[in-house]
């Protein structure tokens, strides 16, 4: 099989799940005739028809609310946010209606809310968001943020089959920049499991989504200096894979967390607390983090480059940490 992009992996997951199960339907703005702003749903309407692929009005609260209602009757809606930034428009519906449903009254909401996220493409303050932590802070949701085409496809399939609401973030920088061969036939990647991308003994670099690439690049550079970094891809942010995180920290004794999300309230803080609770005695240096700045995502290229983490920043932080 020819290598495919992450976007194609996501597209395949939706197609295959809709083929497999007529309870799976898709809703979103411009997802039908147009095929979605990024063309993730291209061809979906032609194959599955307007009853299953619904071009919705520009009404995010309306869309998510309707998807929630559909899921109460046993359907499995896959909702596209044209840009994940617009999830702010339906925040109440997601965090109050959808997330609390099963806990409050035992009504599961098997829906997926997916959309292009992340910066690095000069999208400016409203088309570059990494809003994962609003939702990681919301019990009842699951939050997935893949970094490879293989994982994106397998995780999205798991998300669609999951009985809980899953927020599925698709880093738009990665949509067409990475390619890989995917396994033939049906496969899934389990939610809540991190992946060790590179083994190492000197320190652990934890990251996810687009930051995996500078993290791996940094590890490569560090190896040239004799520092062997273990690199872990979180893949799912809620629930976090505590076991894999703690096992790695116990092995390397040093932890650097890298995320494209802004610094304050980013997942690095949560992981640092988790490691203090579960592996404090094993630590041999301060838990370090490389993150975006605590600002909105700026538009102009030099500003955005300054705002985002990169390989050099990760290498510098890792070197300092390795010095302990």
């Amino acid at each position: 099989m020819a290598p495919v992009t992450m976007l194609e992996g996501i597209r395949q997951a939706i197609f295959e799940e809709m083929d497999r199960d007529p309870a799976v339907v898709a809703l979103g703005e411009d997802i039908g005739v147009y095929g979605g702003a990024f063309k993730v749903t291209e061809g979906l309407l032609a194959r599955f028809g307007p009853e299953r692929v619904i071009d919705a009005p520009i009404a995010e609260t309306g869309i998510v609310g309707a998807a929630c209602g559909m899921s109460y009757l046993g359907l499995r809606p896959v909702v596209e946010m044209q840009f994940i930034d617009f999830i702010a428009c339906c925040f109440n519906q997601v965090t109050n209606f959808v997330a609390k449903s099963h806990y409050r009254w035992g009504a599961p909401v098997p829906m997926v809310l997916r959309g292009p996220s992340g910066g690095g493409v000069h999208g400016g303050p409203f088309h570059s968001a990494n809003p994962e932590m609003y939702f990681v802070h919301t019990p009842g949701l699951k939050v997935v943020y893949p970094s490879t085409a293989h994982d994106a496809k397998g995780l999205l399939k798991s998300a669609i089959r999951d009985n809980n609401p899953v927020l599925f973030f698709e880093h738009k920088y990665l949509y067409r920049r990475i390619k890989e061969e995917l396994p033939e036939g049906d496969y899934t990647v389990p939610l809540g499991k991190a992946a060790v991308r590179r083994e190492g003994r000197d320190l652990t670099i934890l990251s996810y989504a687009a930051m995996m690439y500078p993290a791996l690049e940094a590890a490569e550079q560090l190896a040239g200096e004799g520092i062997e970094a273990e690199v872990i891809d979180l893949r799912t942010l809620l629930p976090l894979d505590r076991e894999t995180i703690l096992a790695s920290v116990k092995k390397t004794s040093k932890l650097l967390i890298v995320h494209e999300d802004t610094r304050t309230g980013g997942i690095a803080g949560e992981i640092a607390a988790l490691v203090c609770e579960g592996a404090f005695e094993d630590l041999d240096g301060p838990i370090a983090r490389v993150t975006a700045l605590d600002t909105p995502t700026p538009y102009s290229p030099p500003l955005e480059e300054h705002f985002l983490p990169n390989t050099a920043k990760i290498v510098a932080a890792a070197r300092e940490l390795a010095g302990y």
Binding site: G49, A59, G62, A67, S71, Y72, N92, N164
Partner: protein, 435 residues
């Protein structure tokens, strides 16, 4: 109003309205005894709407109550103990004590969706239930309520827009009880009939006297049939009056006394009792039998609730996620899945745009209509279009608020200067250069 109802059904309407009222009356007493854990909201004076609308639904239909729709839950088959235990946060409540008031539901049997406190959100949700029902071939109708206040929310508009676009089988009952907490409806929206909004969504609407249970029933029945026939959503505005404060804590002193006095004479149960008597549908004996039955049932149900335990503390940790097979999610298909499976469901993915250029035509048409006053609009008078010579005089001693439009070279609000040594002069932009 001659309803298409049997005598027993007409007596049932009374039973449910009176049960609703007596149940709430008992809860007021429980509230005063500190046995209600949270807030208590009253539907006093609005029972005809809850009961009359829900009565128009079939068993397969779905509803989602608001806080003042206890009566609808009773009609849908919930027991008074469900309401008592919910308010008293008991382990025996439908939510096991995890949520209160009317915030509970039943997906399996009573087809009821639990509301949340944020207003308007049920409208898109019930739109989705209706869409799914149609997709699965179930021929269901969904019904929910909104207040006059709640009709200002974005969710109300987004929900109705989506429902209209989908021609979803949704009946939305707008209970105009004239008060959004402390704010009168006239101060919320400058429209006489909130149902006028339906026109903007391209859907049907009705207005009904919300204190006349038979009118409410008949209007809803008609709307339900309209929706079930695939003619799209219907908005019913039921005019009524909230006879208590927003909740128990609120004495509603902002409501003019005469308003309460007037609406007391229009009490929905009083009006209906009169109807039943005048039309010889019941006699004093039947009434006292029903009333006694209600007393008996409520005694028993209240005792059950009061005797029930509070939930064990550890329950707080449980049930955030649907896992370990706690639910088997299976849609109830009432049409062949084949119909929605490729290639049967496949289409040519193109828009069929009818009447190309019609937008321009309609613009032209409305311009003509405006010119002749045909759409009710007055032709624009030139004197209005001309700006007055002087807009305002500057009050002495106070600096004028300067609009950015006043000065083409507006000074920028400094929001960061860049690193030291790299600041620059914007020269050509005049005043806005950094200094």
């Amino acid at each position: 109003m001659s309803p298409n109802l049997t005598r027993q059904q007409q007596l049932d309407l009374y039973y449910f309205m009176q049960l609703n009222r007596q149940l709430e009356d008992r809860m007021v007493r429980l509230f005063r005894q500190n046995k209600i854990v949270g807030g208590l909201y009253s539907s006093l004076g609005q029972e005809a709407i809850s009961v009359g609308t829900a009565f128009a639904l079939e068993k397969r239909d779905w509803l989602a109550p608001m806080i003042r729709n206890i009566g609808a839950l009773l009609v849908k088959g919930f027991k008074p103990r469900d309401i008592f235990t919910q308010h008293m946060a008991k382990y025996t409540s439908p939510t096991l004590g995890k949520d209160g008031t009317s915030h509970f539901g039943d997906l399996k049997n009573r087809h009821t969706i639990s509301p949340i406190s944020m207003l308007g959100d049920l409208i898109p949700v019930m739109t989705g239930v209706a869409m799914a029902g149609r997709y699965l071939g179930q021929k269901i109708v969904t019904l929910t309520w909104i207040g006059d206040g709640g009709s200002s929310t974005g969710a109300f508009h987004e929900g109705l827009i989506f429902a209209a676009q989908q021609r979803a089988a949704l009946v939305l009952v707008l209970e105009n009880n004239q008060w959004a907490y402390s704010t009168p409806v006239s101060r919320q929206a400058p429209v006489k009939d909130l149902s006028d909004r339906a026109r903007g969504y391209g859907i049907e609407s009705r207005i009904v006297d919300g204190n006349d249970v038979l009118a409410v029933y008949a209007t809803t029945k008609d709307a339900v049939e309209t929706a079930r026939a695939g003619r799209g959503p219907v908005l019913i505005e039921a005019k009524t009056m909230r006879m208590k404060g927003h909740a128990q804590h609120d004495p509603a002193e902002y409501v003019p006394k005469e308003m309460f006095e007037y609406w007391k004479t229009r009490d929905p149960i009083l009006l209906y009792e009169k109807y039943l008597t005048e039309n010889k549908i019941w006699d004093a004996k039947t009434k006292s039998e029903i009333d006694a039955r209600i007393e008996r049932e409520l005694d028993e149900e209240q005792k059950f609730a009061e005797d029930s335990p509070l939930p064990p503390a550890e329950l707080a940790e449980q049930g955030v996620y649907c896992q370990d097979g706690c639910h088997n999610i299976e849609a109830e298909w009432q049409r062949p899945k084949k119909e929605v499976t490729p290639p049967n469901c496949s289409v040519e993915a193109v828009w069929k745009v009818e009447g190309i250029g019609s937008a321009a035509n309609s613009v032209a048409a409305s311009t003509r209509a405006a010119g002749s006053g045909g759409n009710g609009a007055q032709p624009v008078r030139k004197s209005i279009a001309k700006p007055p010579a002087k807009v305002a005089t500057k009050p002495a001693g106070k600096p004028a608020v300067k609009s950015p439009a006043d000065d083409s070279a507006t000074a920028r609000v400094p929001f960061g200067r860049g690193p030291k040594g790299k600041s620059f002069d914007r020269g050509a932009h005049g005043k806005q250069g950094r200094r």
